[in-house]
């Protein structure tokens, strides 16, 4: 057990932090929602009602979709795009999908390679792109969830303002949908760009996301 925790500390810690912070978001969001209810002369709603509300769902999904979009883009674009001196980039001479030998595919698979790395056709294609595909799928599902929940939350506000609700087609073109979407996208893109560039010149001793402290600024694809 102790060994399991030590060997999986990164995933476990972030998973635990995720649950704690999501709960914090739920309580803060409920307080905010009920503040608005009181302002409008309406009764408070329960915690259970809030965490199943469109308002909470839209707030959660809009952040999820942008995070997974960030990873999806980063995973796919780093196949072809490099950044000289960045530990987030692979070596400048390895642009592209690389050779089967480099990727340990098919006859080049070793005894420890996953089974599907030895396969061919669709199975190999799926496994060889599985990380990006899954991240992209989660992004799309989260974005759709944001659209559906965001529309319901927006329409709840519309009715509270004595205005007509919007159809899905209207909401797809609505500023609310694109404002929720783009405000999250821009922050994720900035974070990736700054990480890729700052890691050229800055170091974090012992971190897998940094070059070793003494490594040259020009060294590319070196992680600590």
């Amino acid at each position: 057990m102790k060994r399991f925790v030590k060997e999986n500390a990164l995933g476990l810690t972030f998973g635990l932090l995720f649950v704690v912070v999501l709960a914090g978001q739920a309580y803060a969001g409920l307080a905010d929602y009920n503040q608005q209810q009181l302002t409008e002369g309406l009764p408070r709603i329960s915690f259970a009602r809030y965490v199943t509300s469109a308002s909470f769902g839209a707030d959660v999904a809009e952040n999820w979709q942008s995070e997974y979009l960030q990873f999806f883009l980063f995973i796919f674009l780093t196949v072809w795009l490099v950044q000289k001196g960045s530990p987030e980039s692979k070596n400048l001479d390895k642009v592209g999908r690389e050779s089967d030998q480099d990727q340990k595919i098919g006859p080049y698979a070793d005894e420890n390679s996953p089974k599907w790395a030895r396969a061919s056709g669709v199975r190999l294609f799926l496994f060889a792109n599985s990380l990006g595909l899954v991240m992209g799928a989660i992004f799309l599902l989260s974005w759709i969830a944001q659209f559906i929940a965001g529309r319901a939350a927006f329409n709840e506000e519309q009715l509270g303002n004595l205005e007509d609700p919007m159809s899905p087609g209207q909401y797809l073109m609505a500023p609310d949908f694109w404002n929720r979407t783009l405000q999250n996208w821009q922050s994720e893109l900035l974070a990736v760009a700054s990480m890729a560039i700052l890691a050229i010149y800055l170091r974090q001793r012992g971190s897998s996301q940094s070059k070793p402290v003494g490594t040259a600024h020009t060294a590319t694809g070196v992680e600590g």
Binding site: P43, S53, A54, I144, I148, R151, G160
Partner: protein
């Protein structure tokens, strides 16, 4: 997989479940207009949200059960549509549109006698909040 499952569950719970509670909301809306048409002010006022009732009494300077009968609300027509989103509902009848909100004891009318004004909020004869 957990992260794929949760959005799916969220979708079911949160998405625009437009008709859930719609029948109950439209029944309250019709009850208000029917009571007004029958000169039953007490029953009509029982369908109003507390803030709507208070604002009606304040603006009219008389008790709700009398003031509501002076608001020229239309006779109850046929329900042509209902939308429910979260704590709010819009009930459309031939001749009137009403907005309702949920309270512990059910739907209550927040605004009635409403006419559309294009992209601006509805103009309502009776309105709270």
């Amino acid at each position: 997989m957990l992260k794929l499952t949760v959005p799916a569950v969220l979708l079911l719970g949160l998405a625009g479940c437009g008709s859930v509670g719609g029948e109950a909301a439209s029944a309250v809306a019709v009850r208000l207009l029917t009571a007004v048409a029958s000169d039953d002010g007490a029953t009509a006022c029982a369908t109003l949200a507390p803030q709507t009732r208070a604002e009606l009494e304040e603006s009219a300077g008389q008790p709700c059960d009398r003031a509501i009968l002076d608001e020229d609300l239309p006779a109850p027509g046929t329900v042509t549509g209902t939308d429910v989103y979260g704590q709010w509902a819009q009930v459309r009848l031939t001749g009137d549109t009403l907005f309702l909100a949920t309270f512990p004891d059910g739907w209550r009318v927040v605004a009635a006698g409403c006419t559309p004004r294009g992209s601006r909020p509805y103009d309502c004869a009776v309105q709270g909040g």
